[in-house]
């Protein structure tokens, strides 16, 4: 194997090395630990970009760990979709880390940087692996790191939400294992491509078990993606997490969506007999309700961070409406919107934080408060993030929603999808306008003893980075959608993936 072929595993190895090194040097020299964190994120971004360019030619690269041939060994698969997700994760990690360091959120407890790197390792691993059990392991890696990050800084509210978050996810992981056990018992393999070939040959008696496994697995992914009715864990968890962490968590729900896009066509695709597309009919209604619940939450939320958490749910719903079409152009639109909504969610959490930092005891509650530092600039940033989250022009959310609306027209029930997307956009716009006007337009008399905290403007960096990426995403919408559509084609072409992963076997 040449050095270049080892690049596929770099996004896993880099954070896996950076995390323990950061742990070791942190006690003596803080700045060195921080530097390692940034260097690792930059290296991950570089590796992801190289893979993104390499995957652009349409070949599916595989990396067999320990050179054990698939399906016996664990195999990593780099195709266009994986490369997009890796790049997305690495860019988001840079934004979140920048914000954590500037706002000193990383100093509120031990080991922030190690946990952050382990979180990245779990994310990258989940995006790369072609093995279902390995996917479970990387899910656990990212979850365990996320428990640490979510509780970072502690406090009663965070602990309370943390207990619920951990319990919900342990149950989810157990269900994941049951689905895996069923699938292994039925097919005798854990390699996704191989499983996709073998489900066709399952005995008729076992078809019902296969359907159970398919639905169980989809439920687990839906839990991670926070799709109604499995969304209840998200708002509280995200709203109480420290904002830099919440910004990184914006990609966590997308991991669930990614897993669905990866596994359902590959394993439960056209050839799967009675289990072919079993989860599909449930997804569109669930997605529509998710979008409505999410944006209704945006409408009624009383704090900016809570509003951002509901916006994440709503955007996942919109995203799933597109995914549930399971056609090349709906998936292509979904991939573009996935990238957009991740950055938009992160931008909302970051803006909520910089507002809260300037308003002292008023925090990010949507009530009029006394005048605060840089109010006009912050109002502009909030407007940008809100425009992105609701999908108004000129930012990329508008293009994303337009693509989704155009592509779903040949899916059954598209009228509902149109109604949901357009209706929720309106509700979202009203919701953001309401909180925005309360915070940025109205002014209340300062109560006695109120002292606005002096804050340096350095903390504007991360939100501006996120908004700049969103602007870039709308400026470069042409190439990105082309890439996304090509990625969707690759995902749906199960035979090509199987050939690439299993070779001549």
């Amino acid at each position: 194997m040449s050095a270049a072929s080892h690049l596929a595993i770099a996004p896993i190895v880099i954070p896996a090395l950076a995390a323990p090194i950061a742990l070791l040097v942190m006690r003596r020299r803080r700045w060195l630990g921080v530097g390692i964190g940034f260097a690792s994120c930059l290296a991950m971004l570089a590796a992801a970009l190289i893979l993104l360019v390499a995957a652009g030619d349409g070949t599916i690269r595989t990396y067999e760990l320990g050179e054990w041939p698939a399906p016996f060994g664990i195999v990593l698969v780099v195709d266009r979709l994986s490369a997009i997700m890796l790049t997305l994760a690495a860019s988001l990690s840079l934004i979140a880390l920048t914000h954590a360091v500037i706002t000193r959120a990383d100093r509120k407890g031990w080991h922030f940087h190690s946990l952050f790197q382990f979180q990245m390792m779990g994310l990258n691993g989940a995006f790369l692996t072609g093995d279902l059990f390995n996917l479970f392991v990387f899910f656990e890696v990212l979850l365990i790191a996320s428990y640490g990050l979510m509780l970072h800084g502690q406090g009663p509210a965070r602990l309370k939400a943390g207990v619920q978050y951990v319990i919900v996810n342990i149950v989810g992981s157990s269900l994941f294992l049951i689905a895996l056990g069923l699938l292994y018992a039925l097919t005798g393999t854990l390699n996704m491509a191989d499983m996709g070939l073998r489900v066709a040959a399952i005995a008729p008696d076992d078809q019902s078990l296969l359907r159970v496994a398919a639905l169980l697995l989809s439920s687990v992914f839906a839990l991670k993606a926070a799709i109604v009715p499995l969304h209840l864990w998200l708002p509280r968890t995200y709203a109480v997490s420290s904002p830099a962490v919440a910004a990184l968590f914006a990609i966590m729900t997308k991991v669930g969506v990614y897993a669905m896009i990866r596994v359902i066509p590959q394993v439960f695709g056209d050839d799967a007999g009675a289990a072919a597309w079993v989860p599909a009919p449930y997804l569109l209604p669930a997605a529509i309700v998710t979008a409505i619940v999410g944006f209704a939450g945006v409408f009624v939320a009383r704090e900016l961070s809570e509003q951002a958490a509901y916006a994440v749910i709503g955007s996942t719903g919109t995203l799933m409406i597109a995914v549930a079409g399971w056609q090349q152009d709906t998936l292509g639109a979904a991939i573009y919107y996935l990238v957009h909504s991740t950055f938009a969610g992160a931008a909302l959490f970051l803006v909520a934080d910089i507002v809260a930092r300037r308003r002292a005891s008023y925090a990010d509650r949507a009530v009029p408060g006394p005048m605060f530092q840089q109010r006009q600039l912050l109002a502009l940033l909030f407007m940008g993030a809100a425009i992105a989250a609701t999908g108004l022009p000129p930012l990329s959310g508008f293009i994303g929603k337009l693509l989704i609306l155009r592509s779903v027209t040949d899916v059954a029930g598209w009228g509902w999808a149109w109604g949901a997307i357009l209706g929720t956009t309106l509700i979202g716009v009203i919701g953001f306008a309401r909180t925005g006007s309360a915070i940025f337009w109205k002014e209340a008399e300062a109560s006695a003893g109120y002292q606005p905290p002096p804050v340096s403007s350095a903390d504007l960096t991360a939100p501006i980075m996120a908004l700049a990426l969103l602007a870039g995403l709308s400026a470069g919408a042409g190439p990105v959608t082309d890439y996304g559509t090509a990625a969707a084609e690759q995902v749906l072409d199960r035979a090509a993936t199987a050939r690439a992963v299993l070779g001549g076997r």
Binding site: F133, V137, E140, I144, Y147, L151, Q154, G155, P156, L159, K160, G162, V163, Q164, V166, I167, I170, V171, S173, S174, L177, I178, L180, G181, L182, Y184, A185, L190
Partner: protein, 126 residues
């Protein structure tokens, strides 16, 4: 009684108990429930390689029937992970109890007429 029936009913009972306890309001019961549930999952994973008796799990000369070794490796991974998660859940529940003064999962002190709420005030606090 066959081996299959025994294992299947054991898994079923564990899952039932685990789910019931996981839905309780207090963290101690929930942790116990999660433990039972993960036992059930581990047994289930183990059984997914079919139930065989007295078969070697590794290659040997002159042996044609094997026990599937892969589920055993999977179970090992699953045990390690669930054990770690249970430990985390215990520590977190304890910490949450000490910090918020409540061992209810939703953090609310004795809301309404829950029967297992009666002895909250009698709980020793350090």
């Amino acid at each position: 009684m066959t081996l299959e029936f025994l294992v299947a009913s054991a898994i079923g009972v564990l899952v039932a108990g685990g789910i019931y306890l996981s839905l309780r309001a207090r963290t101690f019961q929930v942790v116990l429930g999660l433990t039972l549930f993960s036992y059930a999952v581990n047994l289930f994973l183990f059984a997914s390689g079919r139930l065989t008796i007295d078969r070697p799990p590794i290659l040997q000369k002159g042996v044609t029937d094997y026990a599937d070794p892969l589920p055993q490796a999977l179970v090992l991974t699953a045990i390690v992970i669930t054990f770690g998660m249970t430990a985390l859940a215990v520590v977190l529940s304890l910490r949450s109890f000490l910090e918020t003064g409540s061992d209810q999962v939703d953090g609310n002190e004795c809301a309404g007429d829950q029967d297992d709420c009666s002895d909250v005030t009698a709980e020793p606090h350090g």
